[in-house]
Symmetry: C2
Amino acid sequence: PSTTARHPPLISTFLNSASNYTISNYLRHLTLHPHLAGTSPSSAAADYVKTNFESLHLQTHVTNYSVLLSYHLHSSLTAHFSNSSTAVPLPLTEPGLGSDSGVVKPYHAYSPSGSAYGKAVYVHHGREEDYRALASAGVDVKGCVAVAKRGGGMSRNAVVVKAAEKGVVAVVMYTENNDRARTYYGGGVERGTVLDGVGDPLTPGWGARINGDVERLGMEDDEVLKRFPTVASMPISGETAELILGSLEGARVPHWWRDGDLFGNFNRVGPGPTFLNFTYQGENKVATIQNVFAVIKGSEEADRFVVLGNHRDAWTYGAVDPNSGTAALIDIARRYSLMMRLGWNPQRTIVLCSWDAEEFGMIGSTEWVEQNLVNLGSKAVAYINVDCAVQGPGFFAAATPQLDDILVEVTKKVTDPDSLDSTLFEKWRTSTDGPLIQRLSDVFSDFAPFLHHAGVPSIDLYYGKDFPVYHTAFDSYEWMVKYGDPFFHRHVAVAGVWGLLGIHLADDPILPFNYLSYATQLQNYTHSLSKLLEGDVSLHPITSAIQELEDAAKQVEEEMKKLREEESEGHVIVLRRRMLNDRLMLAERGFLDTEGIRGRQWFKHLVYGPASEGKLGFFPGVADAMYGSSTSRGEKKEAKKKQEIIQHEIWRVARAIQRAASALKAELT
Amino acid sequence: PSTTARHPPLISTFLNSASNYTISNYLRHLTLHPHLAGTSPSSAAADYVKTNFESLHLQTHVTNYSVLLSYHLHSSLTAHFSNSSTAVPLPLTEPGLGSDSGVVKPYHAYSPSGSAYGKAVYVHHGREEDYRALASAGVDVKGCVAVAKRGGGMSRNAVVVKAAEKGVVAVVMYTENNDRARTYYGGGVERGTVLDGVGDPLTPGWGARINGDVERLGMEDDEVLKRFPTVASMPISGETAELILGSLEGARVPHWWRDGDLFGNFNRVGPGPTFLNFTYQGENKVATIQNVFAVIKGSEEADRFVVLGNHRDAWTYGAVDPNSGTAALIDIARRYSLMMRLGWNPQRTIVLCSWDAEEFGMIGSTEWVEQNLVNLGSKAVAYINVDCAVQGPGFFAAATPQLDDILVEVTKKVTDPDSLDSTLFEKWRTSTDGPLIQRLSDVFSDFAPFLHHAGVPSIDLYYGKDFPVYHTAFDSYEWMVKYGDPFFHRHVAVAGVWGLLGIHLADDPILPFNYLSYATQLQNYTHSLSKLLEGDVSLHPITSAIQELEDAAKQVEEEMKKLREEESEGHVIVLRRRMLNDRLMLAERGFLDTEGIRGRQWFKHLVYGPASEGKLGFFPGVADAMYGSSTSRGEKKEAKKKQEIIQHEIWRVARAIQRAASALKAELT
Ligand SMILES: [Ca+2]
Ligand SMILES: [Ca+2]
Ligand SMILES: [Zn+2]
Ligand SMILES: [Zn+2]
Ligand SMILES: [Zn+2]
Ligand SMILES: [Zn+2]
C-alpha cells in the first residue's frame, strides 16, 4: 500500500471518482423520513450510515451516549386583539404536513414549560441596544410577551436570557425570510435549541457514555440550571409574526430597525394593545444518541488523527441541514474505499464521523471530544467539518489561519460546479468581497468542541450563504432538487474539497500548516482592537507575543523547507519529520487556557470562542471585558475596574500566543 | 556517537567514574558562604555551577526571573514571667556566629510584619485535633501568642493560618530535635517559608521572566493575598521554647501530646501566666533569581526531555540542604561529560537543572515549569529530583508508581555505601519496614510543579530520614563531614542512582515504565479508602476505572514485549517504538484535571497533591472532602451535602484514572 505522496495518481483517482448521481441517491435515502435525535427514525438514519460504511469494507463502529434531550409536548399561542373580544388561536405548525408526517411540531429545545399572558411587544433582535432604544421611547417591557426577530448576531439562548433579565414573561421568535419571492415556502417555522453552551447538560466536561458508570449532575445543580433560560419561548412563522406585529400600537419602530420584508406591514412596537396567551409544555429527558465512525488506520502514523465530521440528526427531513453533508461524507467514504482497493493507505489515520444531536447543542460531537480529549489533544492533526454541504450558490469556508494555504491549494484542484472552465478557487475568490476565509469564533456547528475545547486546527465548509427553509419542515429533498443544487454538482464540489483536504492532511509528509498566516491574522486583530480600545489599556503584551509567534513561524518555515528537500527515508529523517510535525500539530493547543473564557470555562480557546456581546469576532475574553453586560455607568471606579479587567484579558491572550510560539519552537527556556 | 543501549560498556564507565573526593570538593566550595536566594552570594553560587558545567563543555545557560521574595528586617521576643516584673528578651539567633557571618537571622519568609502582646499558650502541632483538645480542657487561645511545635504533618503555613482562625495573635514555632544527644548543635533555629502553595505569588500560572513584558498581580489582589498568613510568626530554638513552655501553668498537657525530649521539662499548656511581646518586621520585595541549566541534546529524539533537578539556594550554608545534592548534580555532569568524550550521546535530551529560591516556595522550578508548560506537557519523559542528597544513613526514594521497576533495577547496580558486598537495593530493602518506595503527595521539593502541575512522572531520592540541623546555621560542611557522610560514599551512591536513572530514561529504546504498578498502587489506595468511608458513598467508579487502567497496562506490556524483540532499526520499527513511548510518556498527564484540587486550582493532579488535613496521602480532593475544615456538626443536611461532595470527588478521581487509561491505549472510542 502507498500514500498519495508516494503515488500521486491516487489523487486523480479521488477527483475522478465523483458522482453526482450517487450523492443524490444518498441524500434521497437519508431524507425520506424526519429523523430527530433520540427518536427511532434517528436510529434508522444511523444504521443507514453504518451500513454504507460497512459495505465499503471500512472499519466501522458506533458509540452510544445517554444525554439529556428535550421534546415538544404541547404549545399554544392565542391573541386578544383590541378590536375583538374573542381569543384568536395563532397557527404554530407548518402548512402542508399530514398528521402522520412524523415531523416534530416547531419548538425550542430546552425551553422551560410555562404559561404567560401579557401584552405583545416587539423587541427586534433582542440585543442590549434594542432594549435601550425601547427604553428611550418610553416602552416598558416588564410583564410582556416579547416578539423577537432572529438575527443581529444573537443566539436563541441569548435572546431569551436577555428578555428574561428585562422582565419579559415569554418570548416568541420569528425568522425573516428575505428570499421569500424565490424559494420561500410560506409558513415555515424555524425550530432550534435555546441551550447555552454545548454538550450534554448533565455531564459537563466528561463523556456521557451509555455503558458503565458515568456521573450525572442533578437537574437542580447550578452547573445544569445555568444552561437553560428561565422563561419559556417558542418559534413562530413570519406570517404569524406579521399578524401580531401588524396589530401593535404605541411607539414607532426605530428607523434603524427597518430591515427585511415585514416592515412594510407594521411600524409600531407596542406594548399591546394585543395580548398574547402563551403556553408551552416540553419534556427534558435522557435519550440515547449515536455517533457513527469509519476509521482508516494510518500505515505509518496510526496515532495521528485527521478527523472529518458531519452531523446526521435533523429537526425535520434534513435535506440541506445536515444531510447534504452526510451524503458528501458517505461519498467520500466511497471514494476513499475505491482508492484503497487501488492500493492506497493513508500515512495518518482518517476518521469519518457522523454525529448525533447536533441540533440540540453539538451534543454528539461534544460528548465524543470530552471522552477522547487526552488523545485528541495529543494526537489530532485537524478537524474538517461540513454541516450543510449545500444551502445555495457560492462557496464559503472558515478555518484556523494555519490551514489557509492548504485550503486555497485544494480549491484550486477542484472544478467550479457553476461555471465552465473555472476552478472552485477562482470563482470563490472573484465572488468574495473582503477576507476570503472566515474565522471560527461562533459556536454554530460541530467544530466547536474540537477548536474551542480541544484546540484542534479546524475548517468548516459549505456552499450557499444561508437558505430560507432552515430548520423548517420544507428542508426536503424536493427543495434541494428545486433550489439548492439541481444537478448535485455543488455537492460534488464540496465532497471534492473535503475529501482532498483529508487526503493531504493524512498524506503530506510535512503537515501543510503555515503559522505565518496565523501571525498575520493576529496582527490584523490587534490592529482592529487598537481602534476600539479607550483609555490607557496597552496592547503591547499582545504585539510582543505575536512577534514571538512570527519569529517561531519563520524558523519553522526554514526547517520545513530543508526537510522537504530531504529525499531519504532513513529513520533519522523520519524522526525529524515526526518531531517537526508534532510542533506544527501542537501549536494550536497553546491558545487554550485551563481557566477558559471567564464565565464560560468550558470554552478554553482565547483567540476564537463565543463572547456575550459585541462583534469583535476574536479574543472573546477581551470582548466580554469590553462589551459585557456589566457596562460602566460612568462611575469612575467602575471604569477603572473595567480597564483593569480588559488589561488582564489582554495579558491572558498574550500568554496564549506565547504558548503557541513556545510549542512551535519546542525549546526549553 | 552511540547510546548506552547500543554500547553497554558506557554504563560501567559511568559507574566507575565515581569520585568521593571530587564530590566533597564541590560541596566544600558551594558551602563556603551562606547563599540565600536573591542575595549576591547567591549569584556567586549560580556562577559556580554555571562555570563547572561550562568547563565540562556542556551546553549551559541561565534563566533569570523577577519574583517576590521576603527578607528579615527586625524581630524581637520578650517574655514577662509571672515571677518577675522585668521583661526578659529571649534569644532569637544562633550561638557561635560572628556578626559578619552573613547568615540571615532566623525568620519565616512571607510572614506579615506585626507586633503582638499576649499570653503564651502551647498548641502542640497546631492541628484541628490539638485545638479541640485545648477547647475540651477549657483553654481559650483567643488573643494569645501560640507556641507551636513543628511536625504532625502540618506545613508552617497551615499552622499559622489555623492559629489565626482560632484567634491567636502571633505564632512562634520550634523544632524538637530528637537526635540531640548525637548530632544536635544547641540553639539551632529552623528557618522556613510560610507561603501557601508554590511559585512566585505575583505570577500564578505563568513564568515571571525577567526580560520583556510579564503581567504581575497587585499586592492587594485576592490571588496574592491568599498565599500569605494574616498573623505574624517566627521560628525559635528548642532551648528558647523550653524557657517559655516551662513557665506555663493552667491545663495539663494531654498525654497523647507527649512525644519528644522537652516534655520532661514542661507539663502545662497555659495560657500564661507568661506574656510574650512579639515584634517582627519583614520585607517582601521583588528580587532576581537564577536557574542554571546544562542541556545534553538527544541524538535521535531531541524533543524528549529527561530532567534532573536540584535546588541551589540555601537558608544558610546549605551543606545538607541542598548542596549535597548540588555536588551530586555537578558530579553527574562531570561523569556524563566523560562518557561523551568516550563517544556517548543520549538518545533523548537530558536537562540538568540547578533551581533557585526553592526555600521560599519552590519558586525557581515552578517559574520554569509554568513558562515551559506546553513543551514539558507534550515532551517531558520524567523528572528526577534530589534536594538533600545526604542527610544521614539509609536510602529513601519516592516515585510515581510506573517508575518503581526502573528505580529498583538501578539500585541493584549501585554498591551500598555503608556495607561490604551489598547492593544499595539489598540494604534498602532489608532496612525498610512497609512499602519500599514512598509516594509524592506532599509538596516539599521541586518535583511539585513537575508532578502536581505538569503531570510528569517523578522521582525524589535522598539518603537519611531527616537531620537535626535542618534550616539552621549549623548545616555546614563540618556537620556533613562529622555526621552526614564522613567519606562521601553516600554522596557517591546517590549520584550513582540519580545518574543511572537519567541514563536509562534517556537511552532505553522503550521507556522503562510499568503501569501495572500504578494500577496496583491505586487498588491499594482504594482498599484503604474503603475502610475509612462512611455512609453510602460508592467507590465503584474508581474500581471500575482502575480495571480499565489495568487492562490498558497489560495490553501495553504485551506490546512492549513484542517491540523489544524487534531488532531491526528500520523506520517502521522506529516509529512504532516512538508511538508506544508516547503512550507511556503521556499517561501520567491523564491524572491532571483542568479544575485542579478544589480551592487549590493550581494543583491539577488528582492522585497526588496537597490536602488540607487528614493523612490520606492520596486523592487529595477526596481527602479534603472527607476531612476538610467544614466538618459536619452532626446536622443531617450538612452530612448529606458532605457525602455528595465526597462522591463527586470520587467521580473526579475515577475520570482521571480513565484518562490515564485512555492515554495508555491511545485509541479513539
Ligand atoms: Ca458531557
Ligand atoms: Ca509564576
Ligand atoms: Zn446542522
Ligand atoms: Zn441546524
Ligand atoms: Zn531543600
Ligand atoms: Zn530546605
